[in-house]
Amino acid sequence: MTEKVSQPRQIADRLTSPLHDAVFSWPTLLLLVATGLFILNIFASPYFLSPWALSDATFNFTEKAIIAFAMALLIISGEIDLSVAAIIALSSTTMGLVLQYGVDTPGLILIGTVTGVACGAFNGLLVTGLGLPSIVVTIGTMSFFRGISFMILGDKAFNGYPPSFAYFGQGYVWWVISFEFVLFFVVAAAYYILLHRTNFGRHVFAIGNNPVAARFSGVRVARVKFILFCLVGLMSGIAAVLLTSRLGSTRPSIAQGWELEVITMVVLGGVAILGGSGTIQGVFVAAFVMGLISFGLGLLNVPGIVMSIFIGSLLIVVIALPILAGKIRERRT
């Protein structure tokens, strides 16, 4: 959005060593922050190190992080989706709706994810088919999707999900390792491979850096972007299944404000908001950073709204520091 006057990119003659890159990379920096937070938390509260407390803490961020991975790809490609929380609301509502007709757990999951994909495809169609700016389209669909939830539910709620459905948001795979936490790792691995190890991932970076050049190189820009919107929709649908299962009920106000938290997570993970660069590792660590902050502060009885000050400041500081460091380095040379 804030496009500065474009200048030719400078490329150094010599590559820096891979070790240097790994040590000074964004994920490493974040990992240091996360470790610091972890140690701080140990000192701050005696309850922090209990396995069950830590396990509980993961629920704070896994659902959001699952969306954040797909969102990272979308943002790298130069688009954005502000409607993810609204997609959760609509998916959850359709699940509640078919529940009234006696649909059981497998059907519920299918409906939830299909609704998510359909919403994502709708966004994708508007953005790629009609060539509209994604930020505005998704502000519109954000009201539209959640609005449909409100139309269906009004001030009521859907309850009475079957017991077998509760596993996805409340179940444990082994000891304190929850199903959600395992899914978080699986999704992270899948997106790591998709973004960093496949042609599709290279296309995403190419589009984000220069859509025109990408198109001239034979990348199907519109199709890749459409798929990314569908993926974000799919992940929102999955998050809706998890969240609905965890809460055991559906209200139209479910997951309100999550879109900004998901985007904060992505940006915190080192993904350039203007597109073109970012890593899944970064987003992965950023999820833990945000989880640790909210959990640690929660143990200290800091209210949620004050926590948001920390997260907001963290977002700005973490983005500002490398830029400032770069400026100082520039001045020296």
């Binding site: 959005m1 804030t2 496009e3 500065k4 006057v5 474009s6 130069g78 502000l82 508007l126 009609l130 060539g131 509209l132 700016p133 930020i135 505005v136 389209v137 502000i139 519109g140 669909t141 954000m142 009201s143 539209f144 999707f145 959640r146 609005g147 449909i148 409100f150 139309m151 539910l153 009004g154 001030d155 220069n210 859509p211 025109v212 198109r215 001239f216 820009v221 139209p252 404000g257 900004l260 985007i263 904060t264 940006v267 908001i273 203007l274 209210p303 709204i305 004050v306 926590m307 948001s308 000050i309 997260i311 907001g312 400041s313 977002l315 700005i316 983005i319 500002a320 830029i323 400032l324």
Partner: protein
């Protein structure tokens, strides 16, 4: 380009008027002057805020922190009024505006001096400002009984049949019309949005122009902070929560291009009026208030589609004359 923009405002005005007309068919009182005055008064704050957002969007930025800024400035004047009832209200209005200006300038400095994208900065300050309300008020609300009578009346006093709130909006609309069309500042704001490269070569400081735009949106948010608290007689953390996107929606419906450089004062005002008329009309024609969100969402999507098709941009990337628009 100006002809197209003018066309958009013309059609939007037609749509708003036909909405009023259609609603009046169902309920004849709807088109009465009194009711129209009520609708305008209801939309006043959104009009003011949309103007601030417009200036920012014109410079290719976005301000997502406006609603939080409004709530924080509002809470500050609410606390001052509850604590020191002797301070005259005009001083409080200035205080609210200055608070907002300061918060906006904070956004602006980060964008101008450090070069962080505006969407990131304001996403951060959106939560920071909202959290700060909780801190300064200690999590408490300022309830209706703690405000002075004068504080509440400054948005309600009627003059020529319109409440003061509406007159503030009218004055600000006129002021912004003059700024945007008759001053070098207004022209440079458009120039930065249309083509930053060309603007730079004509000697316009892009960062500084964006900084000024954020100061303007901040000051208007702060002023609306007072108006909001005075109108709804409550100061709380929840004030105007989620309103930032309604403001952007008003701008989008008003034909202001999110890519920058395109949009007018009349457009922003009509976009806000469109949403105001709609929220007043739906209950009258018997539509459940729960439908309103979906309808305004659909309106935004439609508005974007219409805006885009009126600009007739080729969908083909290859062999297009002007690349890199997205």
């Amino acid at each position: 380009m100006k002809a197209i923009a003018r066309k958009h405002e013309f059609w939007l005005a037609m749509v708003v008027m036909s909405m009023i007309g259609a609603t009046a068919l169902r309920s004849p009182g709807f088109a009465s002057l009194e009711k129209l005055a009520v609708i305008f008064n209801d939309s006043s704050m959104l009009i003011i805020l949309a103007l601030g957002q417009m200036v920012v969007i014109l410079t290719r930025s976005i301000d997502l922190s406006m609603a939080s800024n409004l709530a924080l400035s509002g809470m500050i004047v609410a606390l001052v009024n509850a604590g020191y009832p002797s301070i005259p209200v005009p001083a409080l209005m200035v205080l609210a505006t200055c608070c907002g200006l300061f918060l906006g300038a904070f956004n602006g400095v980060l964008i101008w001096r450090i070069g962080i994208p505006s969407i990131v900065v304001t996403l951060g300050t959106l939560t920071i400002y909202r959290g700060a309300i909780f801190l300064i008020a200690g999590g408490k609300w300022v309830n209706a009984d703690r405000f002075t009578e004068e504080f509440v009346q400054y948005t309600r006093v009627e003059f020529l049949g319109l409440p003061a709130l509406s007159w503030y909006a009218i004055a600000i609309v006129i002021g912004f019309f003059v700024i945007m069309t008759r001053t070098t500042l207004g022209r440079s704001i458009y120039a930065v949005g249309v083509n930053p490269n060309a603007a730079l070569y004509t000697g316009i400081n892009i960062g500084r122009t964006q900084f000024i735009a954020f100061c303007m949106s901040g000051a208007l948010s702060g002023f609306c902070g007072y108006l909001w608290v005075s109108r709804y007689v409550i100061g709380s953390v929840e004030v105007a929560k989620g309103y930032e996107l309604t403001i952007v929606a008003a701008c989008v419906i008003g034909g202001i291009s999110i890519a920058g450089g395109v949009g007018t004062v009349a457009g922003a005002m009509l976009g806000a009026l469109f949403l105001g008329v709609m929220s007043n009309a739906l209950p009258v024609i018997g539509v459940s208030p729960f439908w309103q969100m979906a309808i305004s969402g659909a309106a935004i999507i439609l508005a974007v589609i219409i805006n885009a098709s009126s600009q007739k941009k080729s969908k083909r990337l290859i062999l297009r004359k002007e690349p890199g628009a997205s």
